[in-house]
């Protein structure tokens, strides 16, 4: 079972990347679980025809008790099992705690043992502001972190922060950074900027995703571009990344 956490600056395209990766893996016949670790709970939207699923934390709020296996997630495109941790209203409570509580519940319900996925993808909120947001890279969870970035200064700044945070956790036996996913915003000299950044930190660029109106077009229809048209150049990039990850 491969377990990968996707991090990156807010709005950089983590959920888009993760969902397309899930869809591409599912098309390869792999059993995938995608876990959105963000209070916004919108990671899996495009695997579910644009429908929001009930996040685990919302279930607690409404039912005063933990959800059972049947309520913890739903099956989306290609059999991808979709879970959203959810979390409190912004400004209230403790979102990081929500992630930890969800992970505890998944363990208690033996979700991985029951579904037996080939791949688990964690789509994590951009800012690692507390212990809860590092939970996906703890021992026993993701073994590898992929950072989504563009060539924009703030995206690279966030990528650097994430990389340094993960390096700081090395003594703890946490995941390591497996590379960068360049999600292009078409800024000037974008590839060169990201390449220089990657080289300085000894990180590979594992995928170069072009900016594409097709992504937005299919997302408007509630689906990933990989599901919408698997032969488009951008879809091929996601499929290549999926194949690469499975080969490693």
């Amino acid at each position: 079972m491969k377990k990968i956490a996707i991090y990156g600056k807010g709005g950089i395209g983590k959920s888009t990347t993760t969902s397309n990766l899930s869809a591409a893996l599912a098309d390869m016949g792999k059993k995938v679980i995608q876990i959105g670790c963000d209070p916004k709970a919108d990671s899996t939207l495009n695997l579910l025809n644009g429908q929001k699923l009930q996040p685990v934390m919302d279930y607690y709020r409404e039912h005063d008790e933990a959800p059972g296996f049947e309520e913890v997630g739903v099956t989306g495109y290609g059999g991808v099992y979709c879970i959203e941790t959810g979390g409190p209203t912004p400004g209230l409570g403790c979102a990081g705690r929500g992630i930890i509580a969800t992970f505890d519940l998944l363990e208690e319900l033996e979700v991985f043992e029951k579904i037996r996925p080939d791949v688990v993808l964690y789509d994590v909120l951009g800012d690692v502001v507390c212990g809860g947001f590092a939970a996906p890279i703890r021992e026993g969870y993701a073994e590898k972190v992929l950072i989504v970035t563009s060539g924009e200064k703030m995206a690279l700044y966030a990528a650097d922060n994430i990389n340094r945070a993960v390096l700081n956790f090395a003594d703890r036996g946490y995941a390591s950074v497996g590379g960068l996913i360049l999600n292009r915003r078409n800024v000037e000299g974008e590839y060169e900027r990201v390449e220089a950044f990657a080289k300085e930190r000894n990180l590979p660029i594992v995928a170069d995703i072009p900016r594409s109106g097709d992504i937005i077009r299919f997302e408007d229809q509630g689906m990933t571009v990989v599901a919408g048209d698997p032969d488009l150049p951008v879809s091929r990039k996601y499929r290549e990344l999926a194949e690469k990850l499975m080969e490693e």
């Binding site: 990081g96 507390c130 212990g131 703890r138 021992e139 956790f169 003594d171 703890r172 036996g173 946490y174």
Partner: protein
């Protein structure tokens, strides 16, 4: 009022189970928590506190540590204590507070081991799971880290240490902590029974043996799980070393003979033997031939408590032939599922009261008597340290072995008086003891 505990106590929590399991093994047992919140540990959960030295360290978690998640101060402090006391190992777990802020004890353990050079076990604790979970994890983690495998004999099926020809059957007792057995002689009785029946007692996890003895205990022929805290270890030793296990302890003369027979059959691997078949059945389950002969007009007995104990008492009750129906209630909701099959599993006071109302007789810790104050005569009391702490420790009977039934019944008068008189006394603080 549902889900409110008005008269019942709660069972000891995971971190206290860890402390209890590892107490005698020469390690530094760290509780990461605010100072002063752990007096229940010393006053109620650890009867050995004032008699057997052990190294228990309370970190004194404070507000700033909580905000910053300062694992570094914790590790620095543990290193200082470790350098001073030179423990054989270190174990780290905590209370609900570090759990809420997401403290990763496995990561802390890894860093502590690097800083101190002392083997360190980290436990995921939340102060909400039960002692069964905590002690079970502690025994398992200790074994995985320190157990020395027997000499390899080639194939996996023969990885078990070879018993000398005509040598005695070698037995481990798994799951002995004062939380389930107190310190009033029951574990000693079980050890004596093994030895008196010409078997070799290799180790008892973990009362009365050293870390070294436990580390070499996989040379045993059979494991006997005497409480559910020993069950994860038994399963692991079965899988890793092929050592079979028998679950339960004997209550009464007839049950004692059968228990010894089951241990022998399992240890000698007698596949066709009826006793070996009996050893394979659900631990402590009432055998079908006894169950079908229960008098149909007999009374209903309800037994409440830790699952291995309740089945062991259930077996004794079935053998007595005095009850038409025997029901089991396990209030420790995270006990291993394999051990609680067929039991009512609930810690809800309302549900437990209802179950008590429906029974003619109830065997339980004296605190359960408070559920039906006008029907105290229904109860046979048997104190359980993990539930009532020190309240009834002086009245604990030896509840295993040939005389167990008599001992339990003889203790009733004192227990009823004690139950009426018990008062909550002021707790003393946890201090570091070297």
């Amino acid at each position: 009022m549902k889900q409110a505990q008005r008269v019942l106590s709660t069972y000891s929590v995971d971190i206290f189970g860890i402390c209890s399991a590892l107490y005698e093994l020469g390690g530094l047992v760290v509780i990461h928590d605010a100072s002063g919140c752990n007096s229940t540990y010393t006053t109620h959960n650890e009867p050995r506190w004032y008699d057997i030295p052990s190294m228990v360290y309370l970190s004194g978690l404070n507000e700033i540590d909580t905000i910053y998640g300062s694992d570094s101060r914790l590790i620095r402090d543990i290193k200082e204590v470790s350098d001073e006391t030179r423990p054989k190992f270190i174990s780290i777990g905590g209370s609900p507070m570090p759990n809420v802020i997401g403290t990763d004890f496995k990561a802390v353990a890894r860093m502590t081991e690097k800083a101190t050079g002392v083997p360190t076990l980290g436990f995921r604790t939340d102060g909400i799971h039960s002692y069964v979970h905590g002690a079970g994890e502690a025994f398992l983690a200790f074994a995985k880290r320190f157990m020395v495998p027997p000499e390899e004999k080639g194939t996996k099926s023969s990885r078990i240490s070879e018993r000398p020809v005509d040598g005695p059957l070698r037995v481990n007792l798994l799951g002995a902590t004062p939380l389930d057995f107190s310190v009033t002689g029951t574990v000693t009785e079980l050890k004596t029974l093994i030895r008196e029946n010409e078997m070799e007692l290799v180790s008892t996890w973990a009362m009365g043996d050293t870390a070294e003895t436990l580390a070499s205990s996989c040379r045993a022929d059979v494991n006997v799980v005497i409480s559910s805290t020993g069950y994860p270890l038994a399963r692991w030793m079965e899988k890793t070393y092929g050592i079979p296990c028998v679950t339960g302890f004997p209550v009464g003369e007839e049950a004692t003979g059968q228990w010894i027979g089951r241990i022998r059959a399992a240890g000698l691997r007698l596949p066709e033997d009826a006793a070996a078949e009996a050893a394979k059945r659900v631990p402590g389950e009432i055998p079908a031939d006894i169950a079908k002969n229960l008098p149909s007009d007999g009374k209903t007995l309800l037994i409440i408590g830790e699952p291995v104990a309740v089945r062991s008492f259930g077996e004794a009750a079935a053998l007595s032939g005095k009850f038409g129906e025997i029901r089991f209630l396990c209030p420790i909701t995270d006990a291993p599922r394999e051990l609680t099959r067929g039991m009512m599993i609930t810690d809800d006071e309302h549900a437990i009261r209802k179950a008590c109302e429906k029974a003619d007789r109830i065997l339980a810790d004296p605190i359960y008597g408070r559920l039906l104050p006008d029907e105290r005569d229904k109860f046979v009391f048997l104190p359980h340290d993990a539930f009532s702490g020190r309240y009834y420790r002086d009245q604990h009977p030896v509840f295993a072995g040939p005389d167990a039934v008599k001992n339990i019944l003889d203790a009733q008068k004192d227990l009823v008086v004690s139950e009426r008189e018990n008062k909550i006394e002021p707790a003393s603080p946890v201090v570091f003891r070297a």
